[in-house]
Amino acid sequence: MKNNFLVLYILLVAAQMLICNYLHLTPYLMLTLLPTLVLCLPTKVKTAAALLIAFATGLSVDLIAEGALGINTVALLPVALLRRSICDFIFGEELVVRGEDFSIRKYGLPKVLFALFLVLSLFLVIYLWADGAATRPWLFNLIRFAVSLAAGMLLGVAVVDMLMPDDRR
């Protein structure tokens, strides 16, 4: 893992903590960078290591920024487990075989958006379930999911652009 990536990763996790604590816009919006961060882990990071990184990332955000301990961790682990499969499915198996990383410039915005859609959907479904979805009307959960997904994808594009080295101008 490159040092630049590591520094940016830690800074973005810190940004997520600040978002959790200070960005209170509406109960329908759950703004998260975490699934995008896990998706952007270099492909040479194996699944087992990605799981441990996701666990540490989720737990640190839960510990410092969330009201419910474990909520981000529970939702982030499946993203780490399926990260390589998602990359294989969208960007092709050569990406992992060659040990390259995806980027918007190399694979185009639609493919990156599709990858973000998958990881964010997976994360949000689990997060919203753990965040008391059963006690809320389905319409509220649906709107919350849709708004959070849309915002997460927009933010995710910016994060991918920032984290993937090939895209640096």
Binding site: L59, L63, I71
Partner: protein, 276 residues
């Protein structure tokens, strides 16, 4: 056919995933059990981290805070005058009691230094801790309602569960002598709640006041909480009634902590009843 090495890798990854996911789910479940030591530790840590960071923010909102204090001061002065009038009339009664210890409850003022609003599990950080006399399981109230419950106490800050939390349920009464049911946050706005499980035989009208029932060992009875709104029948058996809270829980700054002096005794009795 997959190579044996690949299958072992898949099994290894699956095992790590299951172990970590079970650990995370365990933490999540323990988070709902507020007495679990990890939860308490995490909450005390959060109180310490975020409690101090709010001072700069509040420096810039001093004007608004002053106006609020002035209004509160006026209301308290009016109340004090009324109390003095009553006290004059009751002078011959030698019984005296301090404001701080009424009806088996101990009261102290406190300041909220941080509020989370946009989650389903919201919390509060209070700018007072164990050194100021705050104890866990104290209720947090204002003149206009219930705000939360203190969960973990640090030296200088305390972590509290907000009313705006899906795990928070409060025993509330419809009117002064009406039906009692659990009052929970509606999950959408900081001023909305739902009074549940009200039997159909109880009559009420939109605008009726909802009070604390006093059936919990945390909050005293008869604190006005909100006004009833629309209602709906659930499973043909009970009403769920929308309640508009008198206190906007997402905007409160100055609160009163209330601690039931006899709570420990009540809890001991309850435990003895459960384990005879």
């Amino acid at each position: 056919m997959r190579k044996p090495g690949k299958i072992i890798t898949i099994l290894f990854n699956a095992a790590i995933f299951i172990i970590l996911e079970v650990a995370a789910l365990g933490m999540l479940r323990s988070g709902k059990a507020q007495d679990f030591f990890i939860t308490k530790g995490a909450h005390a840590f959060m109180a310490k981290v975020w409690g101090g960071s709010e001072s700069v923010k509040y420096y810039f909102s001093l004007k608004q805070a002053n106006e609020q204090l002035a209004a509160q001061n006026f209301a308290l002065t009016q109340e004090l005058l009324a109390w003095r009038h009553d006290a004059e009339e009751a002078k011959r009664d030698s019984l005296t009691r301090s404001f701080e210890d009424i009806g088996g409850f101990h009261y102290m003022s406190a300041t909220i230094v941080k509020i989370s609003r946009n989650k389903q599990h919201n919390y509060l950080i209070i700018g007072q801790g164990s050194e100021d006399g705050v104890v866990p399981h104290s209720g947090i109230i204002t003149n206009d309602g219930v705000v939360g419950i203190v969960d973990a106490v640090g030296k200088h800050y305390s972590y509290a569960l907000s009313f705006m939390n899906t795990d928070f349920s409060l025993s509330a009464r419809l009117g002064r002598e009406g039906a009692v049911g659990p009052l929970v946050w509606d999950g959408k706005t900081s001023g909305g709640a739902i009074l549940k499980e009200i039997p159909l035989q109880y009559k009420f009208a939109p605008g009726d006041t909802v009070y604390t029932s006093g059936f919990s060992s945390i909050f005293p009875a008869d604190i006005p909480i909100g006004l009833t709104g629309e209602s709906r029948i659930v499973n043909g058996a009970t009403y769920d009634i929308n309640v508009r809270l008198l206190q906007d829980v997402g905007a409160v700054r100055y609160v009163t902590l209330v601690n039931n002096v006899g709570r420990q005794e009540i809890e001991t009795l309850e435990e003895e009843e459960v384990q005879p």
